[in-house]
Symmetry: C2
Subunit: 256 residues, 2 copies
DNA sequence: GGCTAATCCCGTACAGTGTACGATGATAGC
DNA sequence: GCTATCATCGTACACTGTACGGGATTAGCC
């Protein structure tokens, strides 16, 4: 049975890979390696970025590297570990902007924006980051940097962790919605408006506006405002504002 | 290529299925149907609940119904539509508690708790609800009921929609984290503590605490508090509190 | 009662997946 | 030169969703 997610294999082997720590076999008999872990990971990221996560197959990556599919297994124990390596790599290469002023709101907004950009650049992240992130250098550096933005605000350590989890979960949630809106518009031959036009006659027949008055009113208002069923941009702006307000209540209570 | 998500097929056909509206073929020549859409959907939900989403295959569902795999396609155009039907069904059957008092905080807390329970009862929801939800009777009734909890607070219609999206996105995010913690503990033969014991020697060798001071301090504190890498229960309680505080700032500004 | 057309059920087949297994060949140390 | 070791990779297997088409069954019509 295919696994698709890590943790199934030897965790120590996975950690060695993430940190590029040489394993037990330092003896160098046998033929030279033609590739490297980094090249395999880079090829996988390239395929995922360009063709989507469904194109990330061992055969496709091998083809991109000009190598037979099974050769990849000399560099990576399996696909699950490769996905972990991809996650850690893009987290390590992530661009992190310096907030203009020193307010915590500006710092957290920058973190949210940076993570949003990360998900926009690598849409496959959301389909892969279900389990807990791999403890590689990229992920840990990211964790440290983002935690620092919450340091010195009077929060307890566990509160800092919880606040960051809250913020990153929100960004991932909106990124997921954005990706869904993008793909549903892409792989389907008809776009949002065409879908609506095709569905409207039947919906009007089965949907009873008197039975669902609030849904009818709000849904119509939202549809008119967004010109679609949902607007990821608006959801991000609204949610981030509320989220920072909510954290502000806690931070102010600690400061005062 | 397998699709796995809806929107690919005829949207009108999907809507007809969701609302159980009879299609064009009302002519009833030919043999009697031995099953029904409801039975197929119920069997699929049962398999998903009991054996996980990875067990939801056409062959497995057919087996549960005592029927050949291809027979399912007389009731459902494909797996994507079946997943939509599953989502709509569990949304319609969802239990919704009445909040004890009339405060909006109590109402929204009840909505969050109900959705949390929904995700606990049907863990496969998070792996399936990537795209926008199917516009079936169950989903729409849920949308209407939950919007009503935000009505009359002085929010604009689009704000009501955004606030609900924010709340449900948060619940889904924590449910995803909880599911990840559950499965990573389940399918792996070693639990959280064993994993840590196996990984600790290597991590101590590669992880430089002086280079990542905040991560080291906060990570240690969180690990000690949770006795794990993450605590979904705590993340839910913390996040919901902040979220309601943040919405409260907006609601108060509208009321005053 | 026969005939036709529609409809259900389902056996077979296909393209695609991750990867286990083992054969082949290249290289380094003795 | 011998041998142990390792990279490469061809083949094979179990599994997925589902296209296709062939029987079997039934309703409407003459």
């Amino acid at each position: 049975m295919p696994t698709h997610r890590s943790g199934t294999g030897d965790p120590v082997r996975t950690l060695e890979l993430l940190w590029r720590a040489p394993g037990a076999g330092v003896n160098q008999r046998g033929p030279r390696q033609t590739l490297s872990v980094d090249r395999v990971v880079a090829a996988a990221i390239g395929v995922a970025d360009a063709e989507g996560v469904e194109a990330v197959t061992m055969r496709r990556i091998a083809q991109a590297l000009g190598v037979a599919p099974m050769s990849l297994y000399t560099y990576v124990p399996g696909k699950a570990e490769l996905l972990d390596l991809m996650i850690d790599t893009v987290c390590g290469q992530m661009t992190h902007s310096q907030p203009p002023d020193g307010s915590w709101r500006a710092r957290l907004t920058a973190i949210a924006d940076d993570n949003r950009a990360l998900h926009e650049r690598h849409p496959w992240l959301i389909t892969v980051s279900t389990a807990r992130p791999p403890l590689g250098p990229g992920v840990i550096e990211k964790y440290d940097r983002e935690l620092a933005a919450l340091d010195g605000l009077g929060l307890a350590d566990v509160e800092m962790d919880a606040a960051l989890t809250f913020l990153l979960g929100f960004v991932e949630s909106t990124a997921r919605a954005a990706a869904a809106a993008r793909t549903s518009q892409q792989d389907s031959t008809l776009d949002e408006q065409q879908w609506w036009e095709a569905s409207a006659p039947l919906l009007e027949r089965v949907f009873d506006a008197e039975r669902y008055p609030t849904a009818a009113r709000v849904g119509a208002a939202a549809g008119a405002a967004y010109e679609a069923a949902a607007d990821p941009e608006h959801a991000y702006a609204f949610g981030l504002g509320r989220l920072l307000d909510g954290l502000g209540v806690l931070i102010d209570s600690r400061a005062g």
